[in-house]
Protein backbone atom coordinates (compact mmCIF):
# COMPACT_ATOMS: atom_id res chain seq x y z
CA UNK A 1 0.00 0.00 0.00
CA UNK A 2 2.78 2.33 0.96
CA UNK A 3 4.65 1.59 -2.23
CA UNK A 4 1.60 2.38 -4.38
CA UNK A 5 1.32 5.68 -2.60
CA UNK A 6 5.01 6.35 -3.02
CA UNK A 7 4.86 5.42 -6.69
CA UNK A 8 1.85 7.68 -7.21
CA UNK A 9 3.67 10.50 -5.45
CA UNK A 10 6.77 10.21 -7.61
CA UNK A 11 4.73 10.05 -10.81
CA UNK A 12 2.69 13.08 -9.79
CA UNK A 13 5.78 14.97 -8.69
CA UNK A 14 7.50 14.22 -11.99
CA UNK A 15 4.47 15.38 -13.95
CA UNK A 16 4.17 18.56 -11.89
CA UNK A 17 7.82 19.47 -12.22
CA UNK A 18 7.94 18.67 -15.92
CA UNK A 19 4.82 20.74 -16.50
CA UNK A 20 6.22 23.62 -14.45
CA UNK A 21 9.45 23.55 -16.47
CA UNK A 22 7.42 23.50 -19.68
CA UNK A 23 5.52 26.60 -18.48
CA UNK A 24 8.77 28.49 -18.26
CA UNK A 25 10.47 27.01 -21.30
CA UNK A 26 7.80 26.91 -23.99
CA UNK A 27 7.94 29.81 -26.41
CA UNK A 28 4.21 30.06 -26.99
CA UNK A 29 2.40 31.63 -24.05
CA UNK A 30 -0.80 29.69 -24.71
CA UNK A 31 1.15 26.45 -24.38
CA UNK A 32 2.56 27.81 -21.13
CA UNK A 33 -0.94 28.41 -19.82
CA UNK A 34 -2.01 24.88 -20.76
CA UNK A 35 1.05 23.38 -19.07
CA UNK A 36 0.17 25.50 -16.04
CA UNK A 37 -3.17 23.66 -15.85
CA UNK A 38 -1.28 20.36 -15.89
CA UNK A 39 0.98 21.56 -13.07
CA UNK A 40 -2.07 22.57 -11.02
CA UNK A 41 -3.71 19.20 -11.59
CA UNK A 42 -0.51 17.43 -10.55
CA UNK A 43 -0.50 19.43 -7.32
CA UNK A 44 -4.15 18.51 -6.78
CA UNK A 45 -3.15 14.86 -7.14
CA UNK A 46 -0.57 15.27 -4.37
CA UNK A 47 -3.27 16.82 -2.16
CA UNK A 48 -5.40 13.73 -2.73
CA UNK A 49 -2.49 11.51 -1.69
CA UNK A 50 -2.34 13.54 1.52
CA UNK A 51 -6.08 12.92 2.10
CA UNK A 52 -6.89 16.59 1.58
CA UNK A 53 -9.68 15.93 -0.90
CA UNK A 54 -11.42 19.24 -0.35
CA UNK A 55 -8.22 21.16 -1.02
CA UNK A 56 -7.67 19.08 -4.16
CA UNK A 57 -11.16 19.97 -5.41
CA UNK A 58 -10.52 23.64 -4.70
CA UNK A 59 -7.19 23.42 -6.47
CA UNK A 60 -8.76 21.93 -9.59
CA UNK A 61 -11.76 24.23 -9.66
CA UNK A 62 -10.12 27.51 -8.77
CA UNK A 63 -6.63 27.18 -10.23
CA UNK A 64 -6.95 24.72 -13.09
CA UNK A 65 -10.52 25.74 -13.86
CA UNK A 66 -10.76 29.46 -13.33
CA UNK A 67 -7.30 30.97 -13.10
CA UNK A 68 -5.67 29.16 -16.01
CA UNK A 69 -8.69 29.65 -18.28
CA UNK A 70 -8.67 33.34 -17.39
CA UNK A 71 -5.01 33.51 -18.36
CA UNK A 72 -5.79 31.93 -21.73
CA UNK A 73 -8.64 34.38 -22.28
CA UNK A 74 -6.46 37.32 -21.29
CA UNK A 75 -3.78 36.19 -23.74
CA UNK A 76 -6.39 35.75 -26.45
CA UNK A 77 -7.91 39.18 -25.93
CA UNK A 78 -4.74 41.21 -25.55
CA UNK A 79 -2.13 39.46 -27.66
CA UNK A 80 -1.05 41.13 -30.89
CA UNK A 81 1.55 39.81 -33.27
CA UNK A 82 3.21 36.43 -33.48
CA UNK A 83 1.93 33.97 -30.88
CA UNK A 84 4.83 31.58 -31.53
CA UNK A 85 7.32 33.91 -29.87
CA UNK A 86 5.08 35.34 -27.16
CA UNK A 87 6.85 34.01 -24.07
CA UNK A 88 10.01 36.03 -23.76
CA UNK A 89 13.43 35.12 -22.50
CA UNK A 90 15.99 37.48 -21.14
CA UNK A 91 19.62 37.13 -22.01
CA UNK A 92 20.99 36.05 -18.64
CA UNK A 93 19.54 32.55 -18.52
CA UNK A 94 22.98 30.97 -18.13
CA UNK A 95 23.76 32.85 -14.93
CA UNK A 96 20.25 32.32 -13.66
CA UNK A 97 20.54 28.61 -14.36
CA UNK A 98 23.80 28.32 -12.46
CA UNK A 99 22.44 30.23 -9.46
CA UNK A 100 19.23 28.20 -9.46
CA UNK A 101 21.15 24.93 -9.69
CA UNK A 102 23.46 25.95 -6.86
CA UNK A 103 20.52 26.96 -4.71
CA UNK A 104 18.75 23.70 -5.52
CA UNK A 105 21.75 21.61 -4.54
CA UNK A 106 22.31 23.55 -1.32
CA UNK A 107 18.63 23.32 -0.41
CA UNK A 108 18.42 19.60 -1.16
CA UNK A 109 21.56 18.87 0.83
CA UNK A 110 20.28 20.74 3.88
CA UNK A 111 16.76 19.37 3.70
CA UNK A 112 18.06 15.85 3.07
CA UNK A 113 19.90 15.97 6.38
CA UNK A 114 16.66 16.79 8.17
CA UNK A 115 14.84 14.07 10.03
CA UNK A 116 11.28 14.90 8.98
CA UNK A 117 8.45 13.73 11.17
CA UNK A 118 4.78 13.78 10.26
CA UNK A 119 2.63 16.10 12.34
CA UNK A 120 1.22 14.45 15.46
CA UNK A 121 -2.43 13.53 15.70
CA UNK A 122 -4.58 11.67 13.24
CA UNK A 123 -6.22 13.21 10.22
CA UNK A 124 -9.87 14.13 10.78
CA UNK A 125 -12.16 11.95 8.72
CA UNK A 126 -14.04 14.95 7.44
CA UNK A 127 -11.44 17.60 6.89
CA UNK A 128 -13.89 20.10 5.39
CA UNK A 129 -15.23 20.66 8.90
CA UNK A 130 -11.75 21.06 10.27
CA UNK A 131 -10.95 23.65 7.61
CA UNK A 132 -14.17 25.52 8.31
CA UNK A 133 -13.42 25.54 12.04
CA UNK A 134 -9.92 26.77 11.40
CA UNK A 135 -10.72 29.63 9.03
CA UNK A 136 -13.66 30.91 11.01
CA UNK A 137 -12.04 30.18 14.37
CA UNK A 138 -8.34 30.36 15.02
CA UNK A 139 -7.47 31.84 11.66
CA UNK A 140 -10.33 34.29 11.40
CA UNK A 141 -7.99 37.28 11.12
CA UNK A 142 -6.09 35.97 8.07
CA UNK A 143 -9.44 34.96 6.58
CA UNK A 144 -10.90 38.44 6.93
CA UNK A 145 -7.68 40.07 5.76
CA UNK A 146 -7.73 37.86 2.67
CA UNK A 147 -11.18 39.29 1.93
CA UNK A 148 -9.84 42.84 2.16
CA UNK A 149 -6.82 41.87 0.10
CA UNK A 150 -9.07 40.59 -2.67
CA UNK A 151 -11.11 43.79 -2.54
CA UNK A 152 -7.94 45.85 -2.85
CA UNK A 153 -6.78 43.70 -5.77
CA UNK A 154 -10.10 44.13 -7.57
CA UNK A 155 -10.08 47.91 -7.05
CA UNK A 156 -6.50 48.05 -8.24
CA UNK A 157 -7.21 45.92 -11.29
CA UNK A 158 -10.10 48.20 -12.25
CA UNK A 159 -8.02 51.34 -11.79
CA UNK A 160 -5.14 50.01 -13.85
CA UNK A 161 -7.27 48.33 -16.50
CA UNK A 162 -9.64 51.23 -17.03
CA UNK A 163 -6.72 53.43 -17.96
CA UNK A 164 -6.66 57.20 -18.29
CA UNK A 165 -9.22 57.93 -20.97
CA UNK A 166 -12.23 58.30 -18.75
CA UNK A 167 -10.62 60.79 -16.36
CA UNK A 168 -10.38 63.48 -18.96
Amino acid sequence: MLSTNALAFWVLAAITIAAALAVVLSKNIVHSALFLILAFVGTAGIYILLHAEFLAAVQVMVYAGAVAVLIVFAVMLTRRGDIRASNLYNSSYLGAGIVALGLFIATSLMLGRMNWTAGGGSMAANNVEAIADAILGRFVIPFEVAAILLLVAIVGAIIVARGVKEDR
Binding site: T107, L111, I141, P142, V145, I159, V164
Partner: protein
Protein backbone atom coordinates in the same frame (compact mmCIF):
# COMPACT_ATOMS: atom_id res chain seq x y z
CA UNK B 1 -14.04 33.64 24.00
CA UNK B 2 -12.63 36.13 21.61
CA UNK B 3 -12.01 39.59 22.93
CA UNK B 4 -13.03 41.68 19.98
CA UNK B 5 -12.16 44.91 21.76
CA UNK B 6 -8.50 43.99 21.30
CA UNK B 7 -9.02 44.42 17.59
CA UNK B 8 -10.73 47.82 17.95
CA UNK B 9 -8.03 49.73 16.07
CA UNK B 10 -7.80 47.29 13.18
CA UNK B 11 -11.57 47.10 12.82
CA UNK B 12 -11.84 50.88 12.81
CA UNK B 13 -9.17 51.16 10.13
CA UNK B 14 -10.79 48.48 7.96
CA UNK B 15 -14.26 50.01 8.26
CA UNK B 16 -12.84 53.46 7.59
CA UNK B 17 -11.12 52.22 4.42
CA UNK B 18 -14.31 50.58 3.17
CA UNK B 19 -16.24 53.75 3.97
CA UNK B 20 -13.78 55.84 1.96
CA UNK B 21 -14.21 53.51 -0.99
CA UNK B 22 -17.98 54.05 -0.87
CA UNK B 23 -17.58 57.77 -0.27
CA UNK B 24 -15.41 58.05 -3.36
CA UNK B 25 -18.29 56.71 -5.43
CA UNK B 26 -20.99 58.85 -3.83
CA UNK B 27 -19.32 62.25 -3.78
CA UNK B 28 -19.65 64.25 -7.02
CA UNK B 29 -16.47 64.76 -8.98
CA UNK B 30 -16.21 68.45 -8.11
CA UNK B 31 -16.20 67.82 -4.36
CA UNK B 32 -13.69 64.98 -4.31
CA UNK B 33 -11.04 67.09 -2.61
CA UNK B 34 -13.16 66.76 0.51
CA UNK B 35 -12.38 63.04 0.65
CA UNK B 36 -8.80 63.95 1.51
CA UNK B 37 -9.99 66.07 4.42
CA UNK B 38 -12.29 63.29 5.60
CA UNK B 39 -9.36 60.86 5.44
CA UNK B 40 -7.13 63.20 7.44
CA UNK B 41 -9.84 63.72 10.07
CA UNK B 42 -10.59 60.01 10.28
CA UNK B 43 -6.94 58.99 10.60
CA UNK B 44 -6.39 61.67 13.23
CA UNK B 45 -9.39 60.34 15.15
CA UNK B 46 -8.16 56.75 14.97
CA UNK B 47 -4.71 57.96 16.03
CA UNK B 48 -6.14 59.63 19.15
CA UNK B 49 -8.07 56.47 20.03
CA UNK B 50 -4.99 54.30 19.46
CA UNK B 51 -2.99 56.61 21.68
CA UNK B 52 -5.63 56.39 24.38
CA UNK B 53 -5.52 52.58 24.12
CA UNK B 54 -1.71 52.36 24.05
CA UNK B 55 -1.52 50.35 27.27
CA UNK B 56 -3.95 47.74 25.97
CA UNK B 57 -2.46 44.30 25.77
CA UNK B 58 -3.68 40.78 25.18
CA UNK B 59 -3.68 37.94 22.70
CA UNK B 60 -6.53 37.37 20.26
CA UNK B 61 -7.26 33.77 19.20
CA UNK B 62 -3.81 32.64 20.33
CA UNK B 63 -2.01 34.23 17.42
CA UNK B 64 -2.61 37.96 17.28
CA UNK B 65 -0.70 39.97 19.82
CA UNK B 66 -1.73 43.38 21.07
CA UNK B 67 1.06 44.78 23.23
CA UNK B 68 2.81 48.12 23.78
CA UNK B 69 5.27 47.16 21.04
CA UNK B 70 2.59 46.77 18.39
CA UNK B 71 0.63 49.77 19.65
CA UNK B 72 3.72 51.91 19.32
CA UNK B 73 4.24 50.84 15.72
CA UNK B 74 0.55 51.32 14.94
CA UNK B 75 0.84 54.89 16.16
CA UNK B 76 3.90 55.39 13.97
CA UNK B 77 2.03 54.05 10.91
CA UNK B 78 -0.95 56.29 11.63
CA UNK B 79 1.30 59.33 11.97
CA UNK B 80 2.98 58.48 8.68
CA UNK B 81 -0.39 57.89 6.99
CA UNK B 82 -1.72 61.20 8.28
CA UNK B 83 1.33 63.11 7.03
CA UNK B 84 1.04 61.29 3.69
CA UNK B 85 -2.55 62.44 3.39
CA UNK B 86 -1.51 66.04 4.08
CA UNK B 87 1.14 65.56 1.44
CA UNK B 88 -1.43 64.25 -1.07
CA UNK B 89 -4.13 66.98 -1.13
CA UNK B 90 -2.69 69.15 -3.88
CA UNK B 91 -0.56 66.52 -5.55
CA UNK B 92 -3.28 64.06 -6.44
CA UNK B 93 -5.74 66.78 -7.39
CA UNK B 94 -3.17 68.12 -9.83
CA UNK B 95 -2.52 64.63 -11.18
CA UNK B 96 -6.22 63.89 -11.58
CA UNK B 97 -6.15 60.66 -9.58
CA UNK B 98 -9.27 58.82 -8.47
CA UNK B 99 -9.34 60.29 -5.00
CA UNK B 100 -11.71 57.89 -3.24
CA UNK B 101 -9.72 54.84 -4.29
CA UNK B 102 -6.39 56.53 -3.62
CA UNK B 103 -7.19 57.37 -0.01
CA UNK B 104 -8.93 54.06 0.59
CA UNK B 105 -5.82 52.22 -0.64
CA UNK B 106 -3.63 54.30 1.65
CA UNK B 107 -5.80 53.28 4.59
CA UNK B 108 -5.72 49.60 3.56
CA UNK B 109 -1.94 49.73 3.31
CA UNK B 110 -1.95 51.05 6.87
CA UNK B 111 -4.13 48.11 7.90
CA UNK B 112 -1.64 45.69 6.35
CA UNK B 113 1.18 47.30 8.32
CA UNK B 114 -0.79 47.06 11.56
CA UNK B 115 -1.26 43.35 10.95
CA UNK B 116 2.45 42.96 10.35
CA UNK B 117 3.28 44.66 13.63
CA UNK B 118 0.72 42.70 15.63
CA UNK B 119 0.64 39.22 14.21
CA UNK B 120 2.11 36.57 16.43
CA UNK B 121 1.42 33.88 13.89
CA UNK B 122 2.90 33.34 10.44
CA UNK B 123 -0.26 33.20 8.33
CA UNK B 124 -1.66 36.55 9.38
CA UNK B 125 1.86 37.97 9.16
CA UNK B 126 2.09 36.85 5.55
CA UNK B 127 -1.35 38.18 4.67
CA UNK B 128 -0.58 41.51 6.30
CA UNK B 129 2.58 41.69 4.26
CA UNK B 130 0.72 40.88 1.05
CA UNK B 131 -2.00 43.41 1.81
CA UNK B 132 0.67 46.06 2.26
CA UNK B 133 2.71 45.01 -0.79
CA UNK B 134 -0.16 44.68 -3.24
CA UNK B 135 -1.66 47.97 -2.13
CA UNK B 136 1.68 49.65 -2.71
CA UNK B 137 1.98 48.03 -6.15
CA UNK B 138 -1.27 49.70 -7.14
CA UNK B 139 -0.35 53.00 -5.54
CA UNK B 140 3.10 53.03 -7.16
CA UNK B 141 1.51 52.62 -10.57
CA UNK B 142 -1.29 55.07 -9.82
CA UNK B 143 0.04 57.74 -12.11
CA UNK B 144 -1.32 56.15 -15.26
CA UNK B 145 -0.09 58.84 -17.66
CA UNK B 146 3.51 58.53 -16.53
CA UNK B 147 5.46 55.56 -17.94
CA UNK B 148 7.89 55.81 -15.01
CA UNK B 149 5.06 55.26 -12.58
CA UNK B 150 3.95 52.25 -14.59
CA UNK B 151 7.50 50.93 -14.50
CA UNK B 152 7.55 51.43 -10.74
CA UNK B 153 4.30 49.52 -10.34
CA UNK B 154 5.43 46.61 -12.51
CA UNK B 155 8.86 46.43 -10.87
CA UNK B 156 7.37 46.46 -7.42
CA UNK B 157 4.81 43.79 -8.24
CA UNK B 158 7.38 41.46 -9.87
CA UNK B 159 10.10 41.84 -7.28
CA UNK B 160 7.51 41.99 -4.51
CA UNK B 161 6.04 38.71 -5.73
CA UNK B 162 9.48 37.14 -5.90
CA UNK B 163 10.43 38.27 -2.42
CA UNK B 164 7.06 37.11 -1.10
CA UNK B 165 7.68 33.71 -2.67
CA UNK B 166 11.07 33.50 -0.98
CA UNK B 167 9.56 34.53 2.33
CA UNK B 168 6.71 32.05 1.92
CA UNK B 169 9.13 29.22 1.22
CA UNK B 170 10.97 30.18 4.38
CA UNK B 171 7.73 30.21 6.34
CA UNK B 172 6.79 26.77 5.01
CA UNK B 173 10.20 25.37 6.00
CA UNK B 174 9.89 26.85 9.48
CA UNK B 175 6.41 25.35 9.78
CA UNK B 176 7.67 22.02 8.51
CA UNK B 177 10.55 21.97 10.97
CA UNK B 178 8.50 22.94 14.02
CA UNK B 179 4.94 21.90 13.20
CA UNK B 180 3.33 25.15 14.30
CA UNK B 181 2.69 28.60 12.86
CA UNK B 182 2.43 30.46 16.17
CA UNK B 183 5.62 32.44 16.68
CA UNK B 184 5.89 31.82 20.42
CA UNK B 185 5.39 28.06 19.95
CA UNK B 186 8.01 27.97 17.18
CA UNK B 187 10.39 29.55 19.68
CA UNK B 188 9.61 26.86 22.27
CA UNK B 189 9.94 23.97 19.81
CA UNK B 190 13.20 25.36 18.47
CA UNK B 191 14.54 25.81 22.00
CA UNK B 192 13.69 22.18 22.77
CA UNK B 193 15.07 20.64 19.59
CA UNK B 194 17.95 23.01 18.91
CA UNK B 195 18.73 24.20 15.42
CA UNK B 196 17.79 21.78 12.67
CA UNK B 197 18.88 22.09 9.02
CA UNK B 198 15.36 22.89 7.81
CA UNK B 199 14.91 25.59 10.44
CA UNK B 200 18.25 27.14 9.53
CA UNK B 201 17.38 27.11 5.84
CA UNK B 202 13.95 28.56 6.57
CA UNK B 203 15.61 31.30 8.61
CA UNK B 204 17.89 32.17 5.69
CA UNK B 205 14.95 32.40 3.30
CA UNK B 206 13.01 34.52 5.78
CA UNK B 207 16.01 36.81 6.14
CA UNK B 208 16.23 37.26 2.38
CA UNK B 209 12.51 37.92 2.11
CA UNK B 210 12.55 40.54 4.84
CA UNK B 211 15.72 42.09 3.43
CA UNK B 212 13.80 42.70 0.19
CA UNK B 213 11.02 44.44 2.06
CA UNK B 214 13.34 46.71 4.03
CA UNK B 215 15.51 47.26 0.91
CA UNK B 216 18.77 46.12 2.49
CA UNK B 217 21.78 45.65 0.19
CA UNK B 218 22.07 43.31 -1.81
CA UNK B 219 18.26 43.09 -1.99
CA UNK B 220 17.75 46.78 -2.66
CA UNK B 221 17.80 47.04 -6.46
CA UNK B 222 14.06 47.62 -6.79
CA UNK B 223 13.89 50.59 -4.49
CA UNK B 224 15.50 53.50 -6.42
CA UNK B 225 13.39 52.90 -9.55
CA UNK B 226 10.21 52.37 -7.59
CA UNK B 227 10.85 55.41 -5.41
CA UNK B 228 11.56 57.58 -8.42
CA UNK B 229 8.59 56.45 -10.47
CA UNK B 230 5.89 56.25 -7.80
CA UNK B 231 3.80 59.35 -7.02
CA UNK B 232 5.78 61.35 -4.44
CA UNK B 233 3.38 60.95 -1.47
CA UNK B 234 3.33 57.20 -2.14
CA UNK B 235 7.12 57.15 -2.20
CA UNK B 236 7.12 58.96 1.12
CA UNK B 237 4.75 56.47 2.68
CA UNK B 238 6.51 53.49 1.11
CA UNK B 239 9.91 54.61 2.31
CA UNK B 240 8.96 55.16 5.94
CA UNK B 241 5.99 53.09 6.95
CA UNK B 242 6.52 49.90 4.95
CA UNK B 243 10.07 49.78 6.22
CA UNK B 244 9.00 50.28 9.83
CA UNK B 245 6.33 47.59 9.42
CA UNK B 246 8.77 45.10 7.97
CA UNK B 247 11.14 45.82 10.87
CA UNK B 248 8.35 45.24 13.39
CA UNK B 249 7.55 41.86 11.82
CA UNK B 250 11.23 41.01 11.49
CA UNK B 251 11.78 41.65 15.20
CA UNK B 252 8.80 39.48 16.11
CA UNK B 253 9.94 36.59 13.92
CA UNK B 254 13.66 36.65 14.60
CA UNK B 255 13.54 37.52 18.29
CA UNK B 256 10.42 35.50 19.02
CA UNK B 257 10.57 32.42 16.80
CA UNK B 258 14.21 32.12 15.82
CA UNK B 259 15.96 33.25 19.00
CA UNK B 260 17.57 29.81 19.20
CA UNK B 261 19.46 30.52 15.96
CA UNK B 262 20.56 34.01 16.87
CA UNK B 263 24.26 33.17 16.78
CA UNK B 264 23.82 32.45 13.04
CA UNK B 265 21.48 35.22 12.02
CA UNK B 266 23.35 37.91 13.90
CA UNK B 267 26.33 37.20 11.61
CA UNK B 268 24.15 37.47 8.52
CA UNK B 269 22.57 40.69 9.74
CA UNK B 270 26.02 42.14 10.41
CA UNK B 271 26.96 41.49 6.79
CA UNK B 272 23.70 43.01 5.56
CA UNK B 273 24.07 46.04 7.82
CA UNK B 274 27.64 46.77 6.76
CA UNK B 275 26.86 46.41 3.05
CA UNK B 276 23.70 48.46 3.35
CA UNK B 277 25.24 51.33 5.28
CA UNK B 278 28.30 51.59 3.04
CA UNK B 279 26.64 51.11 -0.33
CA UNK B 280 23.53 53.14 0.45
CA UNK B 281 25.55 56.14 1.49
CA UNK B 282 28.19 55.97 -1.23
CA UNK B 283 25.76 55.51 -4.10
CA UNK B 284 23.61 58.38 -2.82
CA UNK B 285 26.43 60.87 -3.53
CA UNK B 286 26.21 61.05 -7.36
CA UNK B 287 22.39 61.14 -7.50
CA UNK B 288 20.87 64.12 -9.27
CA UNK B 289 17.19 63.35 -8.65
CA UNK B 290 15.99 64.10 -5.14
CA UNK B 291 13.71 61.07 -5.02
CA UNK B 292 16.56 58.75 -6.01
CA UNK B 293 18.78 60.48 -3.46
CA UNK B 294 16.17 59.84 -0.80
CA UNK B 295 15.86 56.24 -2.02
CA UNK B 296 19.55 55.59 -1.37
CA UNK B 297 19.38 57.58 1.82
CA UNK B 298 16.55 55.38 3.03
CA UNK B 299 18.49 52.27 2.04
CA UNK B 300 21.26 53.46 4.33
CA UNK B 301 18.73 54.23 7.08
CA UNK B 302 17.62 50.59 6.89
CA UNK B 303 21.26 49.69 7.47
CA UNK B 304 21.37 51.77 10.66
CA UNK B 305 18.13 50.15 11.81
CA UNK B 306 19.70 46.72 11.25
CA UNK B 307 22.28 47.64 13.88
CA UNK B 308 19.52 47.46 16.48
CA UNK B 309 18.70 43.93 15.30
CA UNK B 310 22.38 42.95 15.36
CA UNK B 311 22.71 44.01 18.99
CA UNK B 312 20.02 41.44 19.94
CA UNK B 313 19.11 43.29 23.12
CA UNK B 314 16.35 45.32 24.76
CA UNK B 315 18.32 48.46 24.03
CA UNK B 316 18.46 47.45 20.37
CA UNK B 317 14.70 46.95 20.05
CA UNK B 318 13.99 50.19 21.88
CA UNK B 319 16.46 52.00 19.63
CA UNK B 320 14.83 50.55 16.49
CA UNK B 321 11.40 51.63 17.74
CA UNK B 322 12.59 55.13 18.56
CA UNK B 323 14.50 55.46 15.31
CA UNK B 324 11.50 54.34 13.26
CA UNK B 325 9.35 57.15 14.63
CA UNK B 326 12.04 59.80 14.17
CA UNK B 327 12.64 58.44 10.70
CA UNK B 328 8.91 58.83 9.96
CA UNK B 329 9.01 62.50 10.88
CA UNK B 330 12.33 63.24 9.19
CA UNK B 331 11.66 61.47 5.91
CA UNK B 332 8.05 62.62 5.71
CA UNK B 333 9.18 66.19 6.29
CA UNK B 334 11.61 66.00 3.36
CA UNK B 335 9.03 64.34 1.14
CA UNK B 336 6.32 66.85 2.04
CA UNK B 337 8.68 69.62 0.99
CA UNK B 338 9.63 67.72 -2.19
CA UNK B 339 5.94 67.28 -3.04
CA UNK B 340 5.22 70.96 -2.42
CA UNK B 341 8.13 71.86 -4.68
CA UNK B 342 6.97 69.45 -7.37
CA UNK B 343 3.44 70.88 -7.25
CA UNK B 344 4.90 74.26 -8.16
CA UNK B 345 7.92 73.53 -10.29
CA UNK B 346 7.00 70.14 -11.77
CA UNK B 347 10.51 68.81 -11.22
CA UNK B 348 12.35 66.49 -8.85
CA UNK B 349 15.84 67.31 -10.11
CA UNK B 350 18.20 68.68 -7.47
CA UNK B 351 19.59 71.31 -9.84
CA UNK B 352 16.12 72.92 -9.97
CA UNK B 353 16.26 73.40 -6.20
CA UNK B 354 18.83 76.16 -6.60
CA UNK B 355 17.95 79.32 -4.73
CA UNK B 356 15.00 77.65 -3.03
CA UNK B 357 15.80 79.48 0.22
CA UNK B 358 14.69 82.76 -1.36
CA UNK B 359 11.71 81.36 -3.22
CA UNK B 360 10.35 79.55 -0.19
CA UNK B 361 12.32 79.81 3.07
CA UNK B 362 9.97 77.34 4.75
CA UNK B 363 10.58 74.52 2.26
CA UNK B 364 14.32 75.08 2.26
CA UNK B 365 14.44 75.08 6.06
CA UNK B 366 12.24 71.99 6.21
CA UNK B 367 14.50 70.06 3.84
CA UNK B 368 17.65 71.26 5.57
CA UNK B 369 16.63 70.46 9.13
CA UNK B 370 14.91 67.20 8.27
CA UNK B 371 18.03 66.07 6.39
CA UNK B 372 20.20 67.10 9.33
CA UNK B 373 17.99 64.92 11.48
CA UNK B 374 18.37 62.03 9.04
CA UNK B 375 22.12 62.54 9.11
CA UNK B 376 22.09 62.56 12.92
CA UNK B 377 23.31 66.08 13.70
CA UNK B 378 22.43 67.48 17.13
CA UNK B 379 20.14 69.04 18.29
CA UNK B 380 17.82 67.25 15.87
CA UNK B 381 16.02 64.12 17.06
CA UNK B 382 17.90 61.96 14.58
CA UNK B 383 21.03 62.42 16.69
CA UNK B 384 19.50 60.83 19.77
CA UNK B 385 18.01 58.05 17.67
CA UNK B 386 21.32 57.19 16.04
CA UNK B 387 23.10 57.46 19.38
CA UNK B 388 20.85 54.76 20.84
CA UNK B 389 21.39 52.49 17.85
CA UNK B 390 25.16 52.88 18.00
CA UNK B 391 25.14 52.41 21.79
CA UNK B 392 23.18 49.19 21.36
CA UNK B 393 25.85 47.65 19.12
CA UNK B 394 28.74 49.02 21.20
CA UNK B 395 27.20 47.44 24.32
CA UNK B 396 27.46 44.08 22.54
CA UNK B 397 31.09 44.65 21.68
CA UNK B 398 30.76 45.54 18.01
CA UNK B 399 32.78 48.74 18.22
CA UNK B 400 34.05 48.44 14.63
CA UNK B 401 30.47 48.28 13.41
CA UNK B 402 29.58 51.49 15.21
CA UNK B 403 32.72 53.08 13.79
CA UNK B 404 31.71 52.21 10.22
CA UNK B 405 28.23 53.56 10.88
CA UNK B 406 29.59 56.85 12.27
CA UNK B 407 31.99 57.28 9.35
CA UNK B 408 29.24 56.62 6.85
CA UNK B 409 26.96 59.06 8.68
CA UNK B 410 29.58 61.69 7.93
CA UNK B 411 29.42 60.74 4.26
CA UNK B 412 25.67 61.16 4.42
CA UNK B 413 26.12 64.68 5.81
CA UNK B 414 28.03 65.47 2.63
CA UNK B 415 25.27 64.56 0.19
CA UNK B 416 22.55 66.04 2.35
CA UNK B 417 24.49 69.28 2.51
CA UNK B 418 24.98 69.27 -1.26
CA UNK B 419 21.23 69.70 -1.51
CA UNK B 420 21.37 72.42 1.13
CA UNK B 421 24.18 74.14 -0.73
CA UNK B 422 22.12 74.20 -3.89
CA UNK B 423 19.13 75.58 -1.98
CA UNK B 424 20.95 78.27 0.01
CA UNK B 425 23.90 79.31 -2.12
CA UNK B 426 22.59 78.71 -5.62
CA UNK B 427 21.21 81.54 -7.75
CA UNK B 428 17.46 81.95 -8.07
CA UNK B 429 16.46 80.83 -11.58
CA UNK B 430 15.37 83.55 -13.99
CA UNK B 431 11.67 84.37 -14.00
CA UNK B 432 10.81 82.14 -11.05
CA UNK B 433 7.85 82.95 -8.86
CA UNK B 434 7.51 82.45 -5.10
CA UNK B 435 6.08 79.01 -4.37
CA UNK B 436 2.43 78.46 -3.48
CA UNK B 437 2.01 75.99 -0.63
CA UNK B 438 -1.39 75.00 0.73
CA UNK B 439 -1.95 75.87 4.42
CA UNK B 440 -2.54 72.23 5.41
CA UNK B 441 0.82 71.16 4.06
CA UNK B 442 2.52 74.16 5.70
CA UNK B 443 1.09 73.20 9.08
CA UNK B 444 2.11 69.56 8.62
CA UNK B 445 5.67 70.52 7.65
CA UNK B 446 6.00 72.93 10.57
CA UNK B 447 4.57 70.38 12.98
CA UNK B 448 7.02 67.68 11.84
CA UNK B 449 9.94 70.10 12.13
CA UNK B 450 8.82 71.14 15.59
CA UNK B 451 8.58 67.50 16.67
CA UNK B 452 12.07 66.81 15.30
CA UNK B 453 13.43 69.68 17.39
CA UNK B 454 11.45 68.90 20.54
CA UNK B 455 12.30 65.20 20.48
CA UNK B 456 15.92 66.09 19.88
CA UNK B 457 16.04 68.25 22.99
CA UNK B 458 13.62 66.31 25.23
CA UNK B 459 13.81 62.70 24.05
CA UNK B 460 13.19 61.16 27.49
CA UNK B 461 9.45 60.49 27.42
CA UNK B 462 9.47 58.82 24.06
CA UNK B 463 12.64 56.80 24.64
CA UNK B 464 11.34 55.64 28.00
CA UNK B 465 8.10 54.52 26.37
CA UNK B 466 10.01 52.75 23.60
CA UNK B 467 12.41 51.05 26.02
CA UNK B 468 9.58 49.95 28.34
CA UNK B 469 7.71 48.49 25.38
CA UNK B 470 10.88 46.72 24.34
CA UNK B 471 11.28 45.27 27.83
CA UNK B 472 7.78 43.85 27.85
CA UNK B 473 8.45 42.40 24.43
CA UNK B 474 11.77 40.78 25.03
CA UNK B 475 13.80 39.65 28.00
CA UNK B 476 17.03 37.97 26.91
Amino acid sequence: MADLHLLAVEIMVAVFGLGLLVLGLLVPRSDRRGIGYVTAAGLAGIMVITFAMRELSGVFMGGYIIDPFSNYFKLAFLVAALLTVFCSFDYIEKMGFNQGEYYALLVFATLGMMLLASSGELISLYLGLELMTITFCILAGFHLRDPKSGEAGVKYILLGAMSSAILLYGLSLVYGATGTVVIAEIGQVAAASGSTPALTLGMIFLLAGFAFKIAAVPFHMWSPDVYEGAPTPVTAYLSVASKAAAFAALIRVFFGALAELHSIWVQLFIALAVLTIILGNLVAIPQSNIKRLMAYSSISQAGYLLLGIVSYSVLGIGAVMYYCLIYVFGNMCVFMAVTAFYNNAGSDEIRDYTGLSRRSPLLAAAILFAMLSLAGIPPMAGFVAKLYLFMSVISQGYIWLALIAVLMSMVSVYYYLMVAKSMYLGAVPEGSKPLQISPGLKVAILASLLILFVLGIYPDDLTNFAMNSAVTFFMP
